[in-house]
């Protein structure tokens, strides 16, 4: 992965995402158990425009905290981040939010809880269009129908309530919503992890088509190495807040250098695989 641009930065060639030395700590617990947890420690990487970077790691490795900082939902303690050419978090306010909505959007793991269960699913999209574009009601309805078509939903799905759709269809609605402001970067946080394997394959293929068609840049968070293999050009492996390995998908999964990456690969069930007991990791023991 490139760390610096040699050529003068130009909108079309500069990386879509630059993360440089970013850190974040949280204070957890109370009283005697109060302590500081470093959720992310000096993370650095770039994502070239139009490519997909997968962030892999287990629970608590800092994947989601990293994404939340990129979206400006969490303030970094250290380091700098640039998304689509703009520094993250140095300005606030309505105009800034609107501008940022065209830089970066997010799709979550559970589409059921990401949609209002009392409203027809089209509202999820038209609401975003109302907040972030100057389209009138009719323009919003047209754009919404276009987005539904782009994610493979039919017109009759526009007026459906979330529970009337399948999990895969609901996730398509969430993807349409994320695409509504025409963002440069989309963060997908375990976006296919709750789906059955056949549906998962369909959504991954959809995401790939949308990326190619729209020149999108993806930050794809997943705990599943096989899913990362399907979507990613490059991969960073996180463990307890630190990036332990980074490189092209072929290198990281084909010739892993860090013992933790190898451990992750060895733990994934596959033909001929056997589960194994391991020495207890003293840092991982809870309570």
């Amino acid at each position: 992965m490139s760390t610096a641009q040699d050529a003068p930065p130009e909108a079309s060639t500069a990386p879509a995402v630059v993360v440089d030395g970013v850190g974040k700590s949280f204070v957890v617990g109370a009283g005697r158990r109060r302590r500081t947890v470093e959720a992310v420690r000096s993370a650095s990487f770039t994502i070239p425009r139009g490519t997909c970077l997968a962030v892999v790691g287990e629970s608590g490795s800092g994947k989601t905290t990293l994404a939340r900082m990129l979206l400006g939902l969490e303030k970094a303690d250290a380091g700098t981040m640039t998304v689509n050419g703009a520094a993250v978090g140095d300005r606030t306010g309505r105009r800034e939010r609107r501008r940022r909505s065209r830089d970066i959007q997010m799709v979550f793991q559970d589409p059921q809880s990401a949609l209002n269960r009392r409203l027809p699913v089209r509202v999820a999209v038209t609401e975003v269009l109302a907040a972030h574009t100057d389209l009138d009601a009719r323009g919003r309805a047209e754009r919404c129908a276009e987005l539904f078509e782009a994610v493979g939903l039919a017109r009759e799905h526009l007026d459906a309530l979330p529970h009337e759709l399948s999990g895969g269809q609901r996730q398509r609605v969430c993807i349409a919503r994320a695409l509504a402001p025409a963002p440069a970067v989309v963060v997908l946080d375990e976006a296919v992890s709750a789906l059955d394997v056949t549906v998962q394959g369909q959504i991954l293929a959809l995401l790939e088509r949308l990326r190619v068609e729209n020149g999108l840049t993806y930050l794809f968070i997943t705990h599943d190495l096989a899913v990362a293999r399907q979507v990613a050009d490059s991969i960073v492996v996180m463990r307890r807040g630190e990036i332990v390995e980074a490189g092209t998908a072929d290198d990281v999964l084909g010739a892993p250098q860090h013992p933790y990456t190898r451990d992750l690969l060895d733990s994934a069930p596959r033909p001929g695989w056997k589960p194994r007991r391991r020495p207890v990791d003293p840092e991982a023991v809870g309570a």
Partner: protein, 268 residues
Amino acid sequence: MLELRNVDVTVNGGSGDVPLLSEVSLTVAEGEALGIVGESGSGKSMTLRTVLRMLPRGARTTGSVAYRGEDVLGYGRDQLRRFRAAEVSMISQNPQAALNPVHPIRTYMVEGIRAARPGTGGAEALALSRRLLDQVGIDDPDRCLRAYPHQLSGGMLQRVVISAAVARGSRLLLADEPTTALDVTTQSEVMAILEDCRAEAGMAMVFVTHDLDLAAATCDRVAVMSRGRIVETGPAAQVLASPEHPYTQMLVRSKPSLDRRAGSEEVA
């Protein structure tokens, strides 16, 4: 030891009967591990719940469920209670649900043992718990016994419920996606512990999972379910390597591979 023959389960859903299971037949031998694989709503969990007779209110079951020659569907209240306490154990995706949050782990372990074997003394049950927690790789069993469920991680709780199943002397373990919520490294560890415990206690298992590879790696035979039916049964390695039913073939094809990158819709 367990045989389901032509089991149908239906519930009344407003506009007529809705079948949950159709003509489900399966057998599990003593000490054997049978995997049940399928997607959401295929009837995997419902099959386990049929064995325990923990079905939704109003569900009707036909066919037969035999456990060591006894008719489970014909069990009276006391027989059913004994069956659930001493013969079968169930572990689920969410072990927290099996544990009372206001009691320490000790209460859960000791109550389980004494329900399975009435007459066991408290001290004896406690000693057994301590020994089995140690066997599932818990470093400080005494500290674990004092802990409350919320103080333990998901992997630790899953070990606790596994050791409780062994402590009760269960002969059949019904496992419903026990490792789905766990990280892969923890999954590997918990599955290895489960295999050790089963081997030592000679415990049979029905293992429900959506993960074909995991089932193949840990079970002797697998049954593939779709829409309430078993569409294919066979030795685990064979079903995975040369699936016969179109649905199984689709499952195998859909599985993301570590070896190649996927195409987009047009290419695929």
